[in-house]
């Protein structure tokens, strides 16, 4: 009887050991904030010009980057006026923070809706093996595809009937587009890599990756239109690494 109890105990301990992820034991984390900034020279010019001439109030301190943006009136050029023509780096929503580890497999689900107004997502950062769950909420059939830049970089998917949902498993990596055969205008820009986990952040927002195993990681800050900044980090068990980053136009395009 005692041997049986010992055996059951041993099995339970073993099972506990197996089911407990190493990451949870290590419990490391990476967190921080990210913001985007436009050209310092342009910002300074607008700021100076607005102080000298504009009656409009521009609260640069309250915003990151360009503040309210700036476009231009007919008389002032771009200086100190707003008309949604200029990029408002302070309000960019599609910044991605990507943590990568070579041992990770994909499997994260990214929900995307196609409605009569179009796709509800403009940009994604995914891992190979991730699932893009596409909901066709239109009254028409659509055939999605995933395409890279090369002639053979293509993934075909079945045509989706109205109201249907399809799990598109990402097999390609690199600079991709998710498109629809029936509508050339609807495109999602996708960055895909091996062993990626991503967090979508608005400029000035925070990101966090928890329950990480000790080890080496890559950390990428990416805004599709400007490019990316790459970092490498090595985490110890229980370590919390705070990494704040600024994607400045002056810094990352070149």
């Amino acid at each position: 009887m005692a041997r049986i109890i010992q055996f059951i105990t041993a099995v339970l301990i073993a099972l506990t050991g197996i089911s407990t992820p190493v990451a949870a034991q290590d419990n490391a984390r990476v967190y921080g904030t990210v913001e985007t900034k436009g050209h310092a020279e342009v910002l300074a010019k607008w700021s100076a010009s607005s102080k000298a001439t504009s009656t409009k109030k521009i609260d640069y301190a309250a915003k990151s980057g360009y503040g309210g943006g700036g476009g231009g009136s007919d008389s002032e050029g771009d200086a100190g006026s707003f008309d949604n023509v200029a990029i408002n780096y302070g309000e960019i929503a599609d910044i991605f923070v990507i943590l990568s580890n070579t041992t990770w497999q994909g499997g994260t689900v990214h929900e995307v809706e196609l409605s009569p107004y179009g796709l509800n997502v403009d940009v994604l950062a995914v891992a190979r093996g991730d699932i893009i769950r596409l909901h066709n909420k239109t009254g028409n059939a659509y055939t999605p595809y995933l395409a890279g830049t090369g002639d053979d970089d293509i993934q075909d998917f079945n045509t989706m009937e109205p109201g249907s949902v399809n799990d598109l498993v990402v097999e390609l990596t690199g600079d991709l587009e998710l498109g629809l055969d029936e509508d050339e205008e609807e495109i999602i820009i996708i960055a895909a890599g091996e062993g990626w986990k991503s967090s979508r952040v608005a400029s000035g927002g925070a990101y966090e990756f928890n329950n990480l195993a000790a080890g080496d990681y890559g950390l990428t800050f990416w805004y599709w239109r400007l490019g990316s900044l790459d970092r490498k980090l090595s985490l110890k068990p229980g370590q919390g690494a705070e990494i704040n980053e600024v994607l400045s136009v002056d810094r990352i395009i070149k």
Binding site: G77, T149, D156
Partner: protein, 265 residues
């Protein structure tokens, strides 16, 4: 006087010869032209024409000039024929919504790179727009980005496209910056200041190309004789072209290049 009288006759023959030469260059293929010359020669022989007149005619200054001119015409003929060929055909695709904005281009078989550097293509920045936003540049050639805004508006032009990354920095009104493109492909470019300013540059490997808004008929002129590959650059990633090999020897027609959806047969 007698010689002079004899001299006049070959001059008239030369005039006919030149007229034919011009006519041939413009309208006739070479074999037809040669047939006419042979026929005229035979005819002249029948009528008792003295071909020594031809030699005599070359003694005088006029003869030398004519001789040189004829030599030139014979040398120039193959050259003019080589650069005047037009290659035409059709780009086809089986699709209800065919891709737009194509560039049909030729590459020499076994020689991908263009040798001559053409003048820079200008893209203007005015009213916070690139104009034209879509251009074609021959590999090795340049685009000049000109900020000709009327007001004091700064712009920037940059691209992250693989193989053709660039960034001209912040460019003030009145500036002009040249960027050279060394790798064939499609270059997406943007202004980092203004959100709606973006465009596409097709970098093609030879100066022989045609721009199409949609699949259909195309024509590429001044193509030298030789072996070429006809290909299509498409910005829509869903499609690819099936390149066609063609031998150009004079005008060449009915070339058909098919566009296909990638991954589907």
């Amino acid at each position: 006087m007698k010689d002079g009288a004899k001299f006049k006759k070959p001059v008239r023959i030369w005039q006919v010869f030149f007229a034919l030469e011009l006519f041939q260059t413009t309208f006739l293929p070479r074999p037809t032209f040669m047939t006419i010359i042979v026929a005229l020669t035979a005819d002249a022989g029948k009528k008792g024409g003295d071909w020594r007149m031809y030699v005599r005619s070359l003694r005088g200054f006029s003869g030398i000039v004519l001789g040189l001119a004829v030599s030139w015409s014979w040398i120039a003929l193959p050259v003019s024929a080589a650069v005047a060929a037009t290659l035409s055909g059709e780009i086809t695709v089986k699709s209800k919504r065919p891709p737009r904005n194509l560039v049909v281009y030729l590459t020499r078989q076994g020689d991908a790179a263009a040798t001559a550097k053409p003048a820079p293509v200008q893209i203007h920045q005015r009213d916070r727009k690139f104009s034209p936003s879509r251009v074609v540049v021959v590999q090795g050639g340049a685009v000049e980005f000109v900020n000709d805004e009327e007001q004091d508006i700064d712009h920037n032009v940059f691209s992250l496209s693989k193989g053709n990354k660039f960034d001209i920095g912040l460019a003030a009104k009145g500036s002009g910056d040249q960027v050279f493109f060394t790798k064939p492909g499609i270059v997406k470019y943007f202004c980092s200041v203004h959100k709606n300013m973006e465009g596409t540059i097709f970098v093609v490997p030879s100066p022989y190309y045609a721009v199409l808004k949609k699949p259909g008929d195309f024509e590429i002129s001044d193509v030298p004789d030789g072996d070429w590959v006809v290909n299509v650059s498409i910005s829509h990633r869903r499609y690819k072209a099936s390149p066609v090999r063609v031998t150009v020897a004079g005008d060449t027609e009915d070339i058909v290049v098919q566009l296909k959806k990638k991954g589907r047969k």
